[in-house]
Symmetry: C2
Subunit: 219 residues, 2 copies
DNA sequence: TACAGTTGAACTGTACTACAGTTTGGTTCA
DNA sequence: TGAACCAAACTGTAGTACAGTTCAACTGTA
């Protein structure tokens, strides 16, 4: 522990900070799906040049939260049934692939902890926290794949998914959610891979159905 | 089939075209790993404004071929041992996950065709084509996962990998490569998933070793 | 009343200029 | 030989300008 520990020069650009900030705002629902990010308006409001905003939004594009349309600029992504379907299919493939592997002790530990956190969150009933813990639990499962690149890819999808859940203000029933996850954890703990895979598939399947229902109601 | 099929207005921006062009040049080796993309120089040479180049490079960043460093701009990615390792680990996970699934007839057909194409290429001995077909074959395997998002993710990794192979000017021994892939195809055709998984793992393992050897020699 | 056509404001895509701060490679000096 | 310094090159950001596109409101017509 050096005396200079934690001391660090600001090693980031304005555009990067703006991108981070914008991502937060979008996740918080300040911009809805399909909304355009108007460069001039944002630039004026934040007191930066338009090209800086433009660059920030390009960086934002890396996270998948917005996509560019020619002559319309950046548009916030929208949870269409196809998007949701594709997202969950990819999740299912990765998580089941992870479930057939034998987790190392610390990985199993991480899964257990993530589950406990989820149970904890369910008790409080705070929807935002439940969603966070829910997603973190699944990320922990994917970690069993031992691939940093897949971890990153999954994390990006998680970001997108969390946004969808935010805008659809998912009505969760805490007990049910905990129960669904508990069977997964039990199967993993028991080392019963086939059952783990089956439970994960089932869980993701019901999740996607629930989400698509929300989508339909929303319309 | 409409009478207007294929008719389309040019729906792209200058920056997008520049990004595509730059990607081609990088893949072709015009810029080596670690090289900086100097905005002013490129802008002057191509007769466009610097901010347009800047935007093009940001778009290019989406493909993973370059990354930004503060105050140094865009830098072409380099095949470090860690990068290569991570890339191949992710490939291994995805391809083996695909191999445990039962391909639909048209997917099996696509794999067969991809393999035949590879054999064909091996006969010509053209290294560039062999690499192309090799990667296309593996992409065909991943398609069995039935996930467009994973297909896209894998394609992005393929792009990166092809670049690494390009700069390391892989010395391939055609017959060996065909043999390695043939055992995979045989296992898939036979429906022997365990063997398919094992062969894929072995193949990827030898590939990564070979590549890391090239890397070491290169130094 | 419904609908095609027109118009204008708002906005994007691109260019150009400018400048402070950082990086880099070379050169001088101890 | 190595540290200190310096100037050139380059990035990050600001600001202005303008052509082309989009979009919604307005107008005229059947």
């Amino acid at each position: 522990m050096s005396a200079l520990d934690g001391l660090e020069v600001r090693r980031t650009t304005t555009a990067q900070q703006l991108a981070d900030g914008l991502a937060d705002r979008i996740m918080a629902g300040a911009f809805g799906p399909g909304d355009r990010l108007r460069e001039s308006a944002i630039a004026a409001e934040l007191g930066v040049a338009r090209n800086t905003i433009r660059e920030a939004v390009r960086i934002l594009e890396l996270t998948g939260l917005v996509r560019y349309e020619v002559n319309r600029g950046a548009v916030v992504i929208a949870p269409t049934p196809e998007n949701v379907e594709a997202l969950y299919t990819a999740r299912e493939r990765l998580e089941t692939a992870a479930a057939v592997r034998t987790p190392r002790p610390e990985q199993l530990q991480a899964i257990n902890t993530a589950f406990d956190d989820l149970v904890e969150a369910a008790k409080t009933g705070d929807p935002k926290q439940i969603v966070d813990r829910d997603l973190a639990f699944h990320q922990a499962i994917v970690t069993t794949l031992d691939s940093s690149r897949l971890d990153d890819f999954y994390a990006a999808m998680t970001k997108e998914l969390r946004f969808y859940l935010t805008v659809l203000s998912k009505d969760d029933t805490p007990d049910e959610i905990v129960a669904e996850h508990r069977v997964i954890v039990d199967a993993i703990r028991a080392g019963d891979r086939d059952r783990a895979v089956a439970e994960i598939s089932a869980h993701i399947d019901t999740s996607v159905q629930r989400l698509k229902q929300l989508l339909a109601d929303d319309r």
